[in-house]
């Protein structure tokens, strides 16, 4: 590995460590009651990071450790905000991180060895369908959408996240030949998936799934016409839902002019904007903002809370970090020699990128608010674990590609 790269890896790890130490020390001071607890948790966090970092770096050949560093950094910033907002959530998110990072390694290895072997679109479709069916049948409502499953009355997760992975595999599997064999069947299958999502009122999810399919079809077949057609369809559907679903209408109206009804439907976005405005260039400083004024701050609006305390520059830095991940994913799919692998990585990247754009866009009022989470930063176990898994897959694809190069 070239010394320059190694150098930069080390610097990144250092940045990660310093950021963590500074933030968490500050938070220990800020929240003196739990001070010691925070300090120890921070140590655990850093320990887990470095453990996985070293495993990745030293023991797994050709691993693209960025795929671990950047998400961990995002998690770290998210943890900082969560700790400040609600220490209970902070603790749980830390556990999710531990699970996520191990899963990263696990899925990297799994993908590296097995990805090419499992190749059946049917299998993946069924898996996707099942996981999306679960919430329709057994789902519990949280925040307006019924896409949560409760186990033992305590442990909850979102099956749509798991479905997300299988869905990308399904699409990649179907499209690897570069052409669509049975268009009708594909369309039907995709629509059935969308319908399941709509049944659980996860409109944001439905949109993401649909757009990802559009992009993947375009990438595989180069057919601009399919893409355009699909795009028009979703615009029409969106328009229809605006008229017939009051829920959607409220969201769009709140997006267009929240000031009309600040205490009512515009409340969320108004509070989000107030927070972002307050931050100025450098932010108010950790602990000096008012995330408590923002609804849903631990999940959807965590970006606003972060931007309030770390400013415009902090917010832009976050956007850039997410963009870097998208770039990294694209790079992996460009380097792959196998179209199947290339499609998988492209699909995962597209889904990820769309999700990030959707949530940040909604929070800053570029587009209406939707119910998707900000991967790695929002509080949420399913989201974090699956996101790490997805990046693990990307890593696996990368390693697999490199091995081929070396072997031939």
């Amino acid at each position: 590995m070239s010394p320059q790269i190694e150098n930069i890896y080390n610097k990144s790890a250092a940045v990660f460590a310093i950021t963590g130490i500074v933030n968490f020390l500050l938070l220990s001071y800020f929240n003196k009651a739990l001070g010691l607890g925070i300090f120890y948790s921070a140590l655990i966090f850093l320990a887990v990071f470095f453990l996985c970092y070293i495993v990745n770096y030293k023991f797994i050949e050709s691993s693209d450790t960025y795929l671990f560093i950047i998400p961990s950094l995002l998690v770290e910033l998210g943890l900082t905000m969560l700790c400040r907002i609600n220490p209970d959530l902070f603790k749980r998110q830390l556990l999710f991180y531990i699970a996520g990072s191990f899963l990263f390694i696990f899925s990297t290895l799994l993908t590296k060895y097995f990805i090419k072997k499992i190749n059946s679109p049917m299998l993946f479709f069924i898996l996707t369908f099942i996981f999306l069916l679960l919430p329709v049948l057994f789902g519990v409502e949280r925040g307006g959408a019924r896409n949560w499953i409760l186990i033992n009355g305590y442990f909850s997760f979102q099956p749509s996240e798991i479905a997300k992975l299988f869905y990308v595999f399904y699409l990649a599997s179907n499209l690897r030949e570069g052409r669509i064999e049975k268009l009708h069947r594909l369309v039907l299958e995709i629509f059935s998936i969308i319908v399941l999502l709509i049944l659980t009122r996860d409109l944001g999810g439905a949109m993401l799934f649909y757009l990802t399919a559009l992009f993947m079809i375009f990438i595989a077949t180069s057919r601009y016409d399919y893409f355009l057609l699909g795009f028009i369809v979703i615009v029409l559907l969106g328009g229809a839902s605006f008229y017939r679903m009051p829920y959607v209408r409220a969201r769009v109206l709140a997006w267009l002019d929240p000031w009309q009804d600040v205490p009512g439907r515009g409340y969320q976005i108004a509070q989000s904007l107030f927070a972002i405005a307050q931050g100025g260039f450098f932010g108010t400083g950790l602990g000096l903002g008012h995330p408590d004024y923002i609804p849903a701050v631990a999940t959807d609006f965590i970006f606003s809370a972060f931007t309030e305390e770390f400013g415009f520059l902090g917010g832009q830095a976050l956007i850039l970090l997410y963009f870097l991940l998208v770039y990294r994913g694209v790079r992996i799919s460009l380097f792959s020699k196998d179209p199947y692998l290339s499609l998988i990585s492209a699909g995962l990247t597209v889904f990820f990128g769309l999700q990030v754009f959707t949530i940040i866009g909604g929070v800053i009022k570029l587009i209406p608010v939707t119910g998707v989470t900000l991967p790695f930063m929002s509080y949420g176990g399913s989201s974090m674990v699956i996101s790490f898994t997805a990046f693990g897959v990307l890593n696996g694809v990368w390693i697999s590609t490199r091995r081929e190069e070396v072997m031939e």
């Binding site: 570069g178 990438i219 904007l273 107030f274 008012h290 956007i319 998208v326 290339s342 940040i360």
Partner: protein, 485 residues
């Protein structure tokens, strides 16, 4: 399209396309993310300020609740409004009752801010700091206390003036002739700032409009009190006019209208001084016509009509009509006697008195005497006052003498005091809402004025009968407490 052999090249071409599409997709994502960053930037540059100050933004209130709002004092150090610390919260207490309500205003999270509490908000919270050293200090220790503000107003005079209005609708403004400092600013009916929140609905619905500060935002026809301006105009423009004689038949016909003198005026010949003292509408309408609209407009403008008055709070512009499509002599005639379309604020009328009292030199009014920072630093009001020569001292002195005549022998007899010469002018302003407004403007002592005053009682009737005695009592009281010290 498959003109290539399978395997090898074919797969490569397909891969090529795949890669090309991925690149295209990537560019789309670049655009998407760029739009995020651009919008955030736009937001930062343009939308931000509005949002921070929005009344829905709880952060502002939160910030302020941490700061102990400064105290407002009168010119002698009497406390008018202060914040006391009740441990869990801070409460703003107003000591002086209804007389000060419209002037001080209120500062409430529920209903907002008004009056001086609003205009001085920056100072009272200490966020108007400009010196880098205090700014630095602030940043390190955080803001904890605002600045104290000392007004030029005299609390005792204020209370006296308010009580004399007896809850009737009206206003009193008194200025120091040599400086323009505001001694009294009363608007009646007033309200108790302590009770604003609980009485909000009642106050809002009260026909007497207690929440209005009539001194600054009430616009009234000045009536005959405006003759001071017309007089100044003719004196400045026609040399020797004080020696002329004028005749009145008890009325004047202009265009199709008849403008009548007050019944008490006997038709006959009058000197300028006498005409002014008895306040003959016919003669002054004639003078106005003789002066012409341009010159009258100019002199009115010099006195402060149609311009923004520099003051620490918002003052409505007084209006003297300029040329219009329907210029007519009738309009001009009516305007010259302070009727027609002329509208003025009580503050401006007090300034007119101040100008005459100060030998023709205008000092713009101001109400903040000094500001004291928590560190003890005293900041004297910088933009204290704008000076302007409106009329020559000779003219001013003539007007002054005429105004003394008004009080000695004319319509202002009710303002006459035993040992101090008072100069004044009454006004009985016709208006469409009922009884005429009762005006009195003046100053005392005539030769070396210490106080210039304007009093208006809405729909009070005759200026001489209602406003003049009030002015006299205030002036008497002024001298009484001055001699006490």
């Amino acid at each position: 399209m498959d003109i290539y052999e399978t395997g090898g090249g074919d797969g490569i071409i397909k891969m090529n396309n795949l890669k090309k599409n991925i690149k295209t997709t990537f560019y789309i994502f670049c655009l998407l993310f760029l739009s995020l960053m651009s919008y955030l930037t736009y937001f930062q540059l343009y939308e931000r300020q509005k949002l921070i100050e929005s009344s829905y933004n709880r952060r502002l209130w939160e910030q302020e609740s941490k700061i102990k709002r400064g105290t407002i004092y009168d010119r002698n150090g009497v406390t008018l409004a202060e914040t006391i610390d009740l441990g869990t919260e801070k409460k703003r207490i107003y000591i002086s009752g209804e007389a000060f309500g419209p002037l001080l205003g209120y500062s409430s999270m529920k209903i907002g801010r008004s009056g001086l509490e609003s205009a001085l908000n920056g100072e009272l919270l200490g966020i108007a700091q400009k010196e880098p050293l205090s700014l630095l200090r602030q940043k390190i220790y955080g803001l904890s206390q605002g600045n104290d503000v000392y007004l030029t107003v005299d609390a005792e005079l204020q209370k006296k003036a308010y009580s004399l209005l007896e809850g009737k609708r009206g206003a009193v403004v008194a200025l120091e002739p040599e400086t323009g400092a505001v001694l009294i600013m009363v608007s009646s009916p007033g309200f108790d700032s302590n009770k604003v929140e609980e009485q909000w609905e009642k106050l809002k619905g009260d026909r007497g409009l207690p929440l209005l500060n009539r001194a600054l935002t009430g616009l009234y026809p000045p009536g005959s009190a405006f003759k001071v301006v017309t007089l100044s105009g003719v004196l400045e423009n026609f040399t020797g006019i004080e020696k002329e004689k004028f005749e009145t038949k008890g009325y004047i016909k202009v265009g199709g209208r008849v403008i009548k003198d007050d019944n008490s005026i006997k038709p006959g010949e009058y000197s300028l001084k006498e005409a002014f003292a008895v306040s003959s509408n016919a003669i002054f309408a004639g003078l106005g016509l003789r002066l012409g609209r341009d010159k009258l407009l100019k002199i009115a403008g010099d006195f402060g009509f149609n311009s923004k008055i520099p003051f620490e709070m918002y003052v409505k512009k007084s209006q003297f009509p300029g040329h219009s499509l329907m210029d007519s002599d009738v309009q001009l005639a009516e305007d010259s006697i302070g009727q027609g379309k002329v509208l003025t604020t009580p503050l401006l009328m007090a300034s007119i008195a101040q100008i005459i009292a100060n030998h023709g030199v205008y000092h713009s009014p101001y109400i903040i005497d000094k500001v004291k920072t928590p560190l003890g630093q005293v900041k004297v009001n910088n933009l204290r006052t704008v000076r302007k020569t409106v009329i020559s001292p000779q003219t001013a002195d003539i007007v002054r003498d005429y105004m003394v005549e008004v009080v000695e022998k004319g319509t202002g007899k009710a303002a006459r005091m035993k040992d101090i010469k008072v100069a004044g002018k009454t006004g009985t302003a016709e208006n469409p809402h009922g009884e005429p407004h009762s005006w009195f403007i003046g100053f005392a002592p005539a030769q070396d004025p210490a106080i210039a005053i304007a009093v208006i009682v809405e729909n009070g009737g005759s200026g001489g009968k209602v406003a003049a005695p009030i002015a006299r009592e205030i002036i008497e009281y002024y001298f009484k407490i001055r001699n006490r010290k």
